[in-house]
C-alpha cells in the first residue's frame, strides 16, 4: 500500500463512518482543490454515488469560473447541490469590495455568518433542480448535524490541532482548549441536540498528496490552478478581491507536482495568497473559533 493509498483508505473510512452515524449530513464544497478531492473520495467510498448534499457558501465574490465549474460538475456527477448566502450583507453592501467592511469583517459576514445560518437552516438554502438546471429554494430546513469539511492540518496553526470528528456547540463555536479524546479509530459520534460535529477526512493530507490524488484519479479542477501563459497560477482559491496568484510556470497537474517537489514553495505558506489570514494575526484562529472552515 502506498502512502497515498493509505491516506485515501483512511479518508474513505471516515466518510463512511460519517454517513452511517449522522442522519442529517452534508459536505462543504468550496470548489477548491481540497474539497474537490474529498468529493472524489466520496465517490470512491460510495461506489460512484454521493449520498449527501454538497453545500457551497456563495459569497458572490468568488472568481467567476468557480461557480460555472461548480454547476457543470454538479450536473455531470448528479450531485445534490445546495448553496447558501448572506443575502442581507450583500443587499446592504456590507462587504470589503464595497468598502464598508474590513477583510476580516467581510469574511465573518459572507462566510462565517452565512455558513452558520445555512447549516442551521435558519436562512434559505437553494438546491439544484436537475430537471430544469436551476436553483430552487430548498424545502429541507432541518439543521445539518454532521458537516464534512476538507481542512488539512498542515494548512495553518489552528487546523493542526483539529480532531477528525470535532464538536461545535450551539453557536457553532469551537472550544480548542477542551476537545474530546480521539484514539484507536473511534470518533465522537454522540452529541447533544442543537450541537453539531465537523468531520475532517483530509486532516492528514498535504498539498502534494492532494495533487497526487488529482493526478491518479484524473479529478477535474478549476483551471485557475494552472498557468495559462502569464506565468501565474492560483495555489489556493477564494474570493476574487482577497486572493492572489503565485508566480509559476506549471501548466499541468504533472508540472504542479514537480514544482511542489522541487521545494519551491516549501517556505511560503500555501494560503499566503489569502489576505484574511494576515489580518487574523496569523493562524485563522479567531475566524475558526467562530465557525469558519
Amino acid at each position: 500500500m502506498t502512502h497515498l493509498e493509505h491516506l485515501e483508505n483512511k479518508s474513505i473510512h471516515i466518510l463512511r463512518e460519517a454517513y452511517n452515524r449522522f442522519d442529517n449530513l452534508c459536505m462543504l464544497w468550496s470548489i477548491g482543490k481540497d474539497s474537490t478531492v474529498m468529493l472524489s473520495l466520496a465517490r470512491k467510498a460510495f461506489y460512484g454515488h454521493v449520498p449527501f448534499p454538497l453545500v457551497h457558501i456563495d459569497t458572490h465574490h468568488k472568481i467567476p469560473q468557480m461557480v460555472e465549474y461548480r454547476d457543470n460538475l454538479a450536473k455531470e456527477w448528479h450531485l445534490d447541490m445546495v448553496y447558501g448566502e448572506n443575502a442581507f450583507a450583500l443587499e446592504e453592501k456590507q462587504t470589503f469590495p464595497d468598502g464598508n467592511a474590513t477583510r476580516l469583517e467581510c469574511c465573518k459576514l459572507l462566510k462565517t455568518e452565512a455558513l452558520r445560518n445555512t447549516l442551521s437552516g435558519e436562512w434559505p438554502r437553494y438546491r439544484l433542480d436537475h430537471k430544469s438546471g436551476t436553483y430552487k429554494r430548498d424545502t429541507n430546513t432541518q439543521p445539518y448535524t454532521g458537516v464534512i469539511v476538507g481542512i488539512r492540518s498542515d494548512e495553518e496553526g489552528s487546523r493542526s490541532k483539529e480532531r477528525y470528528f470535532s464538536p461545535r456547540d450551539k453557536n457553532n463555536d469551537w472550544d480548542v482548549g477542551d476537545q474530546p479524546p480521539e484514539f484507536w479509530g473511534q470518533y465522537k459520534t454522540d452529541f447533544e441536540p442543537g450541537t453539531h460535529i465537523r468531520i475532517h477526512p483530509l486532516l492528514d493530507w498535504t498539498e502534494l498528496d492532494v495533487w497526487e490524488h488529482i493526478r491518479k484519479e484524473n479529478v477535474p479542477v478549476v483551471p485557475l490552478y494552472f498557468n495559462h501563459g502569464d506565468g501565474k497560477r492560483y495555489r489556493s482559491l477564494g474570493c476574487a478581491p482577497c486572493t492572489s496568484p503565485v508566480d509559476s510556470d506549471a501548466r499541468t497537474v504533472d508540472e504542479i507536482i514537480e514544482e511542489l517537489k522541487t521545494g519551491k514553495f516549501s517556505n511560503i505558506a500555501e494560503r499566503s495568497g489569502r489576505e484574511q489570514d494576515k489580518e487574523d494575526g496569523g493562524g485563522l484562529e479567531e475566524l475558526r473559533k467562530d465557525g469558519y472552515m
Binding site: 461506489y47 490541532k161 484507536w184 465522537k188
Partner: protein, 609 residues
C-alpha cells in the same frame, strides 16, 4: 503566523512516520522539537530570526520552544494544551512530530496525539528526575500499544560535568525498572541537552562517554508499523449500501479490513449473528477490478446469498481462527472522564463498528498509573487505570489482547463523551457456550422463508416474553392469562414453562432439587434457551416462566436466542438488587392482572413498529 512546515519540499516516495513526543510538563519536549526543526534545516525561512527578534524586543531569552507556539492560547499559558503537528525530514524520511501536552489536565490530548503515532520519544529532565507524568505517559504508551520508544534524558547541561554519566545511568535504570513492570522495553536511552543541541542531530565531546545513537539516528532506526496482513481476517461491517434510487442494485457490505486478506470466493461468517455467506465480488469504483483486499483497505463486497446483516458484526473466514463472542468481558481500562467510572451507571462500549450498552460489574484492581500503587475501590477515578469486568447488553464478537488490535481495543462512552479506553484481556463468559453457539449458527439449516417474509405472513414479529420473580408469585397463572389474551388479539402465542422441559428434554440431567443446584440449573436454563430459540425461529410469540432468574441467567438466554426481541418482566416485590428487567409489576400490591396485560400489549405495539 505560519506553522513549521516544509513537507512540500520533500523529494521522494518514502513513507512519512508519525512520532509522538511525551513526558512531564517542563521537561523540555518543545525545546527538543524546536532543536530538531532548526538543526535539520526544517524551519520556514525567516522564522528563526523572527522569533529571535520577538524575544529581543520583549527582553526574553530566546528559547527553541517558542518556535512551536502555533496557537495564541498556548502562547498565553506557556504550556502545550493540545497536540500540534510539526513536519521535518531527515535524509531517510519525512516525519510528523506530534507534540503532546505534559500537563495532567490534558492527558486526553496526550492520548489523542500518541494514538496517531508509530513510535514515541519520552523526555525526562535529568535535573528533576522521573516525575509523575514521566511514568503515567510511559504507562499510556504501553496501553495504547506503542512498542517503539526512545527515552531522552534531557537538560544534562544543568548537571555538573562529572555527575552527568552517573545521573544518566541512574535514571535509565530506575525508569527501565518501571517500564519492565508494564511490559515496555525502550529501544534506547539517550543523554541530551536540547538547549545546547547535544545528541539531537549531532554528538558532542561534552558527553563522550555515550556511544549510542543521537535522537535523529534513533528516529531513523524506528521501523514503519505495517498493516497486519499475516493475521486471520477481521473486518467490521461498517455499513450496507444499496443505492437503488440511483439505479444501482448491488448490495454492498462495506468495511475496512483490520487484518488478514479477503478474497472473492471466501466463505465468511458474521459474528455474533453466526450468519454465513460467500464473497461474490470485491467492489471498486474507477479502478482495476480486484479479486482480493488486504489489511488497511476500506473495502466493499457483494455476497452470493442475500442475507440480512447489520453494522457491528465482525467478518471472519470460515476455517481461519474464529473471534470469540460473548457478553461478559475482562479488560484493562484507563479512565479520562471527569466523573468516575462507576457501577451505578449505564455506559456504552464502542469496539470496531459495534456499539452496545454496558455495565461495570467489578473492579478487580485499580492502579495509580504514576506510582503503580494498588487502590482498593469499586470505581475508577479520572486518570486511573484498572482491571475491570463489564457485562454487555448483548453479545459482541471480539479477540483477546495479543495479536489483534481493532477487535481488542474499545472506548467507553459516558453520555455524549468518550471517557475511557480499554483492551479486552479475557472473556468472563462460559466460553464453551460461546463455541457451541458459533458452531450451532454456522451449521444452522436455513429456511428458504426469510424472517421478514414470515413476519409479514403471521402479522407479528417473534418475541420472547420472560416472566420471572420470587417463587411465591403466580407466574403460571399470569402466563396463561397472557397467552389467552394474545391469542384473542389474533396473535400466534405459546406458553412454555420450564416445567414442560424438566421431565422430557431435561430428563437425563434432572435430579431431585435440580433448579437449586447451580451447575444443573445453568444447563436447564441453556436448554430452555435452545428450545425457545427454535420456537422463536418459527415465528411465535413465546411466553416463558421461571423462578428468580438472575441477571446472569438472562444474559445467557439473550446470548442463546438469536432475536433481539426479548421482553423481561419481573413479577412481585423488588429491591435494589433487581435491576436487569425491562418491566416490573408487583401483583401483591395494587396492580391487577389486566393492567399488566395492557402494559405488555403496549410494549408489543412498540416492537411491531
Amino acid at each position: 503566523m505560519d506553522t513549521c512546515k516544509t513537507q512540500n519540499g520533500f523529494v521522494g516516495e518514502a513513507k512519512e512516520m508519525n512520532i509522538v513526543i511525551v513526558g512531564h510538563v517542563d521537561h523540555g519536549k518543545s525545546t527538543v522539537i524546536g532543536r530538531l526543526l532548526a538543526d535539520t534545516g526544517s524551519l520556514p525561512e525567516g522564522k528563526f530570526d523572527m522569533v529571535r527578534e520577538l524575544c529581543r524586543r520583549n527582553a526574553k531569552p530566546f528559547e527553541y520552544a517558542f518556535l512551536l507556539d502555533a496557537l495564541k492560547d498556548e502562547r498565553a499559558q506557556g504550556i502545550t494544551i493540545d497536540t500540534a503537528r510539526c513536519f521535518f525530514k531527515s535524509a531517510k524520511r519525512k516525519y510528523i512530530i506530534i507534540d503532546a501536552p505534559g500537563h495532567i489536565e490534558f492527558l486526553k490530548n496526550m492520548i489523542t496525539g500518541a494514538s496517531r503515532a508509530d513510535a514515541a520519544l519520552l523526555v525526562i529532565d535529568a535535573n528533576e528526575g522521573i516525575k509523575e507524568n514521566s511514568r503515567r505517559h510511559g504507562y499510556m504508551l504501553s496501553m495504547l500499544g506503542i512498542k517503539q520508544v526512545a527515552v531522552l534524558i534531557n537538560k544534562l547541561d544543568l548537571i555538573p560535568e562529572r555527575e552527568r554519566e552517573e545521573k544518566y545511568k541512574n535514571i535509565a535504570a530506575e525508569y527501565g525498572k518501571f517500564l519492565e513492570q508494564i511490559n515496555l522495553k525502550p529501544v534506547c536511552y539517550i543523554p541530551i541537552s536540547a538547549f545546547e543541541g547535544i545528541n539531537i542531530a549531532e554528538t558532542s565531546e561534552k558527553l563522550d562517554w555515550y556511544n549510542g545513537p543521537t535522537v535523529l539516528e534513533a528516529l531513523d532506526n524506528f521501523v514503519e508499523v505495517l498493516p497486519a496482513e499475516d493475521l486471520p481476517l477481521r473486518m467490521w461491517v461498517q455499513d450496507v449500501y444499496k443505492f437503488t434510487q440511483q439505479n444501482d442494485d448491488r448490495r454492498i457490505i462495506a468495511g475496512t479490513v483490520s487484518s488478514g486478506k479477503l478474497s472473492a470466493g471466501d466463505e465468511v461468517v458474521f459474528l455474533p449473528s453466526g450468519k454465513k455467506t460467500t464473497v461474490k465480488s470485491i467492489e471498486g469504483f474507477r479502478e482495476e477490478p480486484k479479486t482480493a483486499v488486504s489489511a488497511g483497505y476500506a473495502a466493499g463486497f457483494c455476497m452470493t446469498e442475500q442475507i440480512y446483516v447489520k453494522r457491528g458484526e465482525l467478518i471472519s473466514i470460515i476455517g481461519e481462527e474464529s473471534p470469540l463472542t460473548g457478553n461478559k468481558i475482562k479488560a484493562s481500562v484507563f479512565w479520562l472522564g471527569k466523573e468516575a467510572l462507576s457501577q451505578d451507571k449505564k455506559y456504552k462500549i464502542k469496539i470496531g463498528s459495534a456499539q452496545v450498552g454496558c455495565r461495570l460489574v467489578e473492579v478487580e484492581a485499580a492502579l495509580n498509573a504514576a506510582t503503580l500503587q494498588n487502590i482498593q475501590q469499586s470505581f475508577v477515578a479520572r486518570h486511573e487505570v484498572a482491571r475491570c469486568v463489564f457485562h454487555l447488553d448483548r453479545p459482541l464478537a471480539f479477540d483477546l489482547a495479543g495479536r489483534f488490535e481493532d477487535t481488542v481495543r474499545f472506548v467507553i462512552v459516558d453520555g455524549y463523551e468518550i471517557a475511557g479506553g480499554g483492551i479486552i484481556t479475557d472473556t468472563a463468559d462460559d466460553s464453551r457456550l460461546n463455541e457451541n453457539l458459533v458452531r450451532r449458527d454456522i451449521k444452522w439449516i436455513k429456511s428458504s422463508i426469510e424472517v421478514e417474509e414470515r413476519e409479514k405472513y403471521y402479522g407479528q414479529k417473534s418475541l420472547m416474553i420472560i416472566l420471572t420473580g420470587p417463587k411465591d408469585t403466580d407466574k403460571k397463572n399470569t402466563a396463561r392469562a397472557l397467552e389467552k389474551f394474545l391469542i384473542q388479539k389474533g396473535k400466534i402465542a405459546y406458553y412454555l414453562g420450564i416445567g414442560n422441559l424438566l421431565y422430557g428434554v431435561d430428563a437425563d440431567i434432572k435430579s431431585v432439587d435440580s433448579m437449586n443446584i447451580v451447575q444443573e440449573r445453568q444447563e436447564h436454563i441453556r436448554r430452555l434457551g435452545e428450545v425457545a430459540n427454535l420456537m422463536l425461529d418459527a415465528g411465535n410469540i413465546l411466553i416463558v416462566t421461571a423462578s428468580e432468574l438472575s441477571g446472569d441467567e438472562l444474559d445467557t438466554l439473550r446470548q442463546i436466542i438469536t432475536t433481539d426481541n426479548i421482553l423481561t418482566v419481573w413479577l412481585g416485590p423488588t429491591d435494589n438488587r433487581i435491576r436487569d428487567f425491562e418491566m416490573y409489576f408487583d401483583d401483591t400490591g395494587e396492580g391487577t392482572q389486566e393492567d399488566l396485560l395492557l402494559r405488555i400489549e403496549e410494549k408489543l405495539a412498540q416492537t411491531e413498529d
